[in-house]
Symmetry: C2
Subunit: 271 residues, 2 copies
């Protein structure tokens, strides 16, 4: 199954565009988990059990796992094993290096940790991205226009060809995606106008859209701007961080349900 | 001691600009190491013992350690512990993410693995870089102009302000470096003409220069183009991969010595 088929299948199954972000910070977990042998893994499993019929995707921000050393690596492995196979997994790693090095990162985050998709930083160009595109069943989201304030520093720069840098990156993503249909872009939810234009520019590309909720993006605006395009809408703190008490899993489910109901009402989910 | 002082101290001590790259691939180690409990660590220790009076710096390409799982993480820790304190360590991680996530990467690669410096991808802008700049004793090298063919895709793009993207990145690095003097840029050795121009543009910035040897960069051209600027010249396969047999450490020393003698002859090393 190609990545795009996998994505539509996952979205159809749970009637959802929701990607639940598991940016699990071991330093701020609910008190009740502190005695667990791997509190992050226990937390993630509880969130997954509470939301896996509502999410089409889980995204692990790998910084949280890397900064937790070997325990973090074990938590990442255990979390991937716990996610039902029909639900997608994304490794938010934002890697990108010369070809030989990207091949190793591809081994690390497509095989060793078998994510369905990963995020990649395209600054170093095609040979930095290509090794991740070789498997048509594994998706790649390159950074297009990010949700943070620093996006203004380089991503918005105007080029002499009339485009902004993020538009040029999007056009390249379309070219690089031509054969396998496993490449998409990251577009921040905090910029609905630009999202709307990028959707017009690249109707066929899957978009990974972070930034709804804590970072300030509005789900309603994002859905309107995205229209009918394939989109995975990531919400992290708004779901997995909905409560810091022992009811964290129930609170996550309640929050996820609210978001998913809004999605079902306002967007066309594959059926 | 600030990062720039540390760097000059290390270079003065061993009269060297050489950064030895430890891109240690566990799959292609000399046969003689295969029975070791952590072959990568044993290999790295032998290379360090053979070259630490010749190198001012060791650079670990973290992809090789990440793709080796827990054993790789242990090898990275053990390698850092084995490097003499007066010699610099660089973690080639090319991270870069929204601020809160960059803070975690900073914890992972400036504290947990206490590298003296790390490489950072600046595409997401200032808030992605800033968390790494907070400690004046820790250096940051942001990608300026890389040595790979894909550098043509985005880094060379012409901006309406008359600069190329890599020049704009370099100018920003100068601004961001103003207060602490712990920020430099990566400039590939395969582009000596651009290196010369960037050195003119940013005489005070430390340059990390990879790409001499296996990637095709010429040490002589690099030294001429860099002039008197602070530079760490990285050589990986040409030293640590000089022999695949049991004489790998002696071969690494012989190769390192040849490069360092050329540096001593052709450049002004801090004295």
């Amino acid at each position: 199954m190609t990545f795009i088929e996998k994505t539509k299948h996952a979205q159809r199954q749970n009637q959802s565009l929701l990607c639940v972000g598991l940016d699990t910070d071991w330093r701020t977990l609910p008190e009740i988990l502190k005695s667990e042998s791997n509190p992050v893994l226990t937390f993630n499993k509880a969130i997954i059990d509470a939301t896996s019929d509502l999410a089409c995707c889980y995204k692990l921000q790998m910084a949280y796992y890397e900064a937790n050393g070997e325990l973090g690596l074990q938590a990442a492995h255990g979390t991937l094993e716990h996610i039902p196979t029909q639900v997608l997994t994304i490794g938010d790693v934002k890697r990108g290096d010369i070809g030989a090095t990207s091949e190793l990162y591809s081994y690390a985050y497509q095989e060793m940790l078998p994510f369905d998709a990963i995020t990649i930083n395209p600054l170093m160009g095609y040979d930095a991205v290509e090794p991740f595109l070789r498997r048509e069943d594994r998706g790649v989201f390159i950074l297009g226009l990010t949700s943070n304030p620093g996006a203004r520093d380089f991503e918005y720069l105007e080029l002499t060809n009339g485009k902004r840098l993020y538009e040029e990156i999007t056009d390249r993503a379309r070219e690089w995606n031509a054969s396998k249909r496993n490449l998409g872009i990251v577009v921040g939810a905090t910029k609905p106008e630009e999202l709307r234009e990028l959707r017009r520019r690249a109707p066929e590309l899957p978009f990974l859209i972070p930034g709804v909720g804590a970072q300030g993006g509005s789900l309603e605006e994002v859905l309107a701007a995205n229209g009918d395009g394939v989109a995975l809408i990531n919400i992290s703190r708004g779901i997995a961080g909905a409560s810091k008490n022992s009811d964290f899993a129930e609170a996550a489910r309640a929050s996820a349900l609210k978001y998913v109901e809004q999605m079902r009402q306002l967007s066309r989910i594959p059926s």
